[in-house]
Symmetry: C3
Subunit: 269 residues, 3 copies
């Protein structure tokens, strides 16, 4: 049986991450630093986490990609993010924006919108977050989405028009799109939302894939598939959210060429 | 066999948390953010962790309860806590104070005492911490208690007189009391003190229970029972502190109506 | 069969940590706070994590040892570290320096060099970090080493001349040395580098051992052996990096007198 062409493309990106072990600089929510770092290591990439204005712009010069996540947003991160993104842009390094829990929060919401001008190669968020990037007054409740996938798809297209990159919208089915392509990944498990930071990890894993795959759409699709397939493998072995977290890290390390058919995944146009 | 009436009340609160999935805003120790967030998610609640003065008072307006823990106390948290508590008080939202490691520490100790004026519905701490809330010069050693349960009980009654709420004192047997009631929960396992942040998690879980149960005494008793029974289940499956941490999260998800008889638990008066 | 004499010395230190349960104040990378705290607890020690200038110098007075790690280096830690180290020095308390990811980073690199004047009893780092302590322009890439063990050994001897203490250099084989002794610990597993913060944990565990063993060389050798042997035990049980992290904590708790022969370990001179 011929392997699914998408699966082959995804497996190619996974393999490249493991071979090239990209160094991913993450400015991420304090609460999810642990799972983001361990998830990148499990995937074969290498994390870096300094977020201060005094050091982050300098150390980011050795990174292969940058992931910026606005969850919890410490004052160190508020200060460090714009200058660090500016260095990544100057150096032509791919960077990913994860506008976690924007909408109501008064600092991260305008910051996220302003960061679109620095053209992240991928924006990753849930439906509410993507909507809040382009609509005043929109936003979820905490880290959870309350927006419909359809409204988010329209907003995602608007983001794509501004950045020229790709957008990945998490949900029951994940949506990945850019200016000319669109794919739906109907994989994963509800347990992914029972562990803190799995969305942040997806953003960082997307940055790792962007470090080895120049096409942001393909990189985002690979990261989304990698994490959701690993989630399915982990769910089959877990007895609850605690063991699921551990199994997810093991599965990120194990998922690869034998990831299985990507049912429900494919470019729509 | 008729179920223990306490067990029925506890099971009712657990069920309500799972059904209503309260959003709990946590200003907590950096070191325990991970287990607090994962523990709340395992219990069926939803965590939110922003602590800056710039954002925490605003985002707390969408939360169902607030948990304030003074462990590690970053400068962000020092700045953000008083204003965030003020919003919770203004909006009539239940909030829980966990005065972690007060006594010697020069910022958190007066802060904890001052926060009593904002009348937390529950104060949760170990014997040394509860004692240090009302006695100059008292306090433990790091996060560990050196005070006797009896001295703590007297101090807890003084806290109750000031706040009008409930107090939960952790120890070999946990004590929960308010102005008119008192209960002892002789459950749990020594392994709970071999994992960082289980006390912080209990404070946050108490806030989750306060979001669905208007009686702070019953909410605190339910949270204490929930966590300690889950600890017993986890201890029976764990090979050491690492696997215990994972099993504890699985057990928080699983413990419920079938939690078993609450031996040693009951209202004393 | 007579037990290896080194093993007996290591087992003696492990036993002393479990009996005396030293309180170890850790100013450490935010990303690794969780594994450092849980690792110390698993080992039988007790962690303390406050890093602000406002509180850390005061609370450190009750600690038995201090561990300073420069990874991620928040502004709170930048401000708090020098004053906290000064108190430890004033009080004659052993302290350990872990110069994580120095070299390129503009704040931590001069800070680490300056902290050598406060004579840490042990400096623990990888080859690049130890080299960057004494050579301008040296340093690794993120948290990973790019220096050779031989270059690091020469640099380590220079550090020893400045501090009068011991140095532990992590690598495929770990090197521990002081002014008159040198040992190589060829234990461990590649999985230790697939989990974030295991190096930070080794620094903190070294501080715990220094609290119960006055000879820094023996303390560093014990901590290095303890962690790497636990890593081997965990690797034998793990299916991937997620389960390895859990098993490592269980093994830190279990490793002891029956740790097994320390092949490849021994004082060279």
């Amino acid at each position: 049986m011929k392997p699914d062409p998408d699966l082959a493309a995804v497996a190619h990106v996974i393999s490249a991450v493991r071979t090239r072990q990209p160094l991913v600089h993450c400015l991420t929510a304090t609460v999810s630093m642990g799972i983001v770092a361990d998830g990148l290591l499990a995937a074969g990439a290498r994390p870096m986490m300094t977020e201060t204005l005094a050091e982050a712009p300098t150390v980011t010069t050795v990174a292969d990609a940058l992931a910026v996540n606005l969850g919890t947003l410490s004052t160190d991160a508020m200060d460090g993010i714009p200058a660090t993104v500016a260095v990544a842009v100057r150096d032509g390094r791919p960077w990913v924006l994860d506008p976690t829990a924007i909408g109501l929060a008064p600092v991260r919401t305008p910051l996220a919108r302003q960061l679109l001008d620095s053209r992240p190669v991928v924006v990753r968020g849930n439906a509410s977050e993507v909507l809040a990037l382009v609509r005043e007054g929109a936003g979820g409740r905490g880290a959870d989405s309350v927006a419909s996938p359809d409204a988010a798809q329209e907003a995602a297209r608007e983001v794509v028009r501004r950045t020229g990159g790709a957008v990945a919208v998490s949900g029951a089915a994940d949506l990945v799109l850019d200016a000319g392509r669109s794919a739906s990944v109907a994989r994963g498990t509800a347990l992914l939302s029972r562990v803190t930071g799995t969305g942040c990890l997806l953003g960082a894993l997307t940055a790792a894939c962007c470090a080895v795959e120049a096409d942001p759409f393909r990189a985002a699709l690979a990261a989304t598939t990698w994490l959701t397939v690993a989630g399915e493998v982990a769910a089959g072995r877990a007895a609850g959210p605690g063991s699921f977290r551990m199994e997810l890290l093991d599965a990120l390390d194990a998922v690869g060429d034998a990831a299985g058919a990507l049912t429900g995944t494919g470019e729509d146009r």
